[in-house]
């Protein structure tokens, strides 16, 4: 990408700044994990100025959202933050269901909540593991990835897909969960504490890890608010907002959990907040898995929002008509001609969708409010004054997922 490199260097012409040099970091670099590019202006080892250059993974998801219906688009949404796919699906259908004014069944709410929290653990494990990997702690990464595999297995049991489950549907879920799933989640809860203890033992008081993260990339509370940071990054800086408590969606108001905060705002605080959030998530899962209500997972077919199951399509006239209505491209859902913004607390921060509806079953405009995009704009601010070796630490702590960043 021909970016005017002269812009990257502040006042190069002045003689006292002549010793600055420019370094191109990425788009292919082990510490970026995906494709991001940074143009760094350096004074020796110290970063004076950083310009992120993004868009390498831009694939027009929002344009696709204007051409796919509410159930089809879930497969695209899945691929945004692929480290916590079900969170994206839940968020997307949360917005659609708010637009259609659907109240989910209790069973569906619980299963979605469990999935959302499993995905939070999944995301935080990968984030903390990869952050440790970039700082040289390879073992911690393996422990984290090992546990993450179990969550992929749980997704597979529920939906048949490990990585991109596309599990939610308007007004419900793809299919109900079975006993195997519940056994797997229970087993996961037991495994979690052991792996969590291992990770903490390896990292929490690890001299190298602490030295390289404490005091690095400090984000003050004022800056966090002013620069629109949300989620664990904002909470590590002392912003106490959590959508699960502020606007309890799904079944969150039934559970006892704490919002994890810190006031330090550095990479180490963000690591600790993520680790503690996992414990809170497992608390929610433990409460939810033993109390999943019985009953249907989808709302009533007569509401004309859900796709009926195969049995009722083949055996009843209502089911057949309903199936036809939702799958013919000129019929589909009847939506109010309105606009709505709805957000959920995804592992990375506030993941919102703004839907403009023209009355049909395809969104007229499906805007994603991606947390990674907003958080990466913080990066130049966080890295200035630090050394090149701090870049992996800061990048790892803000957890940039390029697919969500570029969409």
């Amino acid at each position: 990408m021909p970016l005017n490199l002269a812009d990257a260097i502040p006042e190069t012409s002045s003689p006292e700044r002549e010793f600055l040099w420019t370094l191109n970091f990425g788009p292919q670099h082990p510490a970026t994990h995906t494709t991001l590019r940074l143009i760094l202006t350096l004074d020796g080892e110290v970063v004076v100025h950083a310009i992120p250059d993004i868009g390498f993974l831009h694939s027009g998801f929002e344009k696709l959202g204007e051409h796919l219906d509410f159930n089809q688009y879930v497969t695209i949404v899945d691929r945004m933050n692929y480290i916590s796919p079900v969170s994206n699906e839940i968020s997307w259908h949360h917005a659609v269901e708010k637009l259609l004014d659907i109240d989910l069944t209790p069973r569906c709410k619980y299963i979605r909540t469990i999935f959302a929290e499993l995905m939070r653990i999944h995301d935080h494990l990968v984030c903390c593991g990869a952050a440790a990997l970039d700082l040289g702690a390879f073992t911690a990464f393996l422990y984290a990835f090992n546990l993450r595999e179990k969550i992929n297995d749980i997704s597979e049991v529920a939906s048949g897909q490990r990585f991109h489950p596309s599990y939610t549907r308007v007004g419900g879920l793809l299919c109900d969960v079975d006993d195997v799933w519940i056994t797997k989640v229970r087993a996961f809860i037991k495994l979690f504490y052991a792996a969590y203890a291992d990770l903490m033992k390896l990292l929490q008081r690890n001299r190298i890890f602490v030295d390289r993260t404490r005091g690095v990339g400090v984000l003050t509370k004022e800056e966090a608010i002013n620069r629109s940071a949300t989620g664990p990054i904002a909470r590590a800086s002392g912003v106490t907002r959590d959508l699960r408590k502020d606007q309890p969606y799904l079944a969150y108001k039934d559970f006892d959990f704490k919002v994890v905060c810190s006031t330090e705002g550095d990479c180490y605080a963000r690591f600790l907040v993520r680790m503690e959030e996992m414990v809170q998530s497992i608390k929610i899962i433990t409460q939810a898995i033993e109390n999943i209500p019985s009953g249907p997972i989808n709302i009533d077919v007569n509401s004309k929002f859900v796709v009926p199951n195969q049995m009722s399509v083949y055996r009843s006239i209502e089911g057949l008509i309903q199936h036809f209505e939702l799958h013919m491209t000129n019929r589909q859902w009847e939506t109010p001609k309105e606009e709505i913004y709805a957000a959920t607390e995804s592992p990375n921060g506030e993941l919102g969708f703004y839907i403009v509806s023209d009355g049909s079953g395809v969104a007229y405009r499906a805007r994603t409010r991606p947390p990674s995009f907003v958080h990466f704009s913080l990066f130049p601010h966080l890295i200035v004054g630090h050394q090149i070796s701090d870049i992996p630490a800061v990048l790892g702590s803000i957890n940039i997922i390029a697919a969500e960043l570029d969409r």
């Binding site: 990408m1 913004y341 907003v374």
Partner: protein, 167 residues
């Protein structure tokens, strides 16, 4: 501060402007004219402490039935202290869609405004670095506009693939 209070105070302060208010589900919206956008948003930020800009994006209403303007730009605001939310919306038209930049109020507007510029061609006056953000600099169209086709306008052919022997 409830939406009714905000309504009352905004109407009192900007009585000449004829602001429109609406609510849908839990979204509260104010529709404001683009000429007074900066003034209204800074009033909202200082008076009602909407100190976080959660979302800023746009839509193209070209094919939407009943729409009176071409573009709509929304600002989703959050009061961090009490979690209150408000959406401020403004409408724009061709040619030369142009808005004041909110970078001075919220630094978070930086990349969001660049994305809107990239996708819709709406320019933000006073933005420190208004360049394309997701698409390459030599891209000429604005792909999220409704008159841009889903499959593109042949841009891919302009990007020659480079093979190793020629590089």
């Amino acid at each position: 501060m409830s939406f009714a209070d905000i309504k009352e105070k905004l109407t009192a302060k900007f009585e000449k402007l004829n602001l429109e208010y609406s609510s849908f589900r839990d979204n509260d919206r104010v529709i404001v004219p683009p000429s007074d956008l900066f003034e209204i948003l800074s009033f909202l930020k200082t008076t009602f402490c909407f100190d976080m800009l959660i979302d800023l994006s746009a839509a193209d209403y070209l094919h939407l039935q009943g729409a009176t303007h071409r573009y709509g730009v929304w600002y989703a605001l959050l009061n961090v202290e009490n979690g209150e939310r408000l959406i401020v919306k403004t409408h724009l038209d061709d040619p030369d869609p142009r808005l004041p930049s909110m970078y001075d109020l919220w630094k978070g507007a930086d990349w969001m405004e660049r994305e809107v510029y990239d996708m819709y061609g709406i320019e933000f006056d006073g933005h420190p670095d208004l360049r394309r953000i997701l698409l390459p600099d030599e891209f000429v169209a604005f792909p999220l506009r409704k008159d841009y086709p889903l499959r593109g306008m042949g841009e891919r052919h302009n990007f020659q693939s480079v093979i190793r022997s020629e590089a």
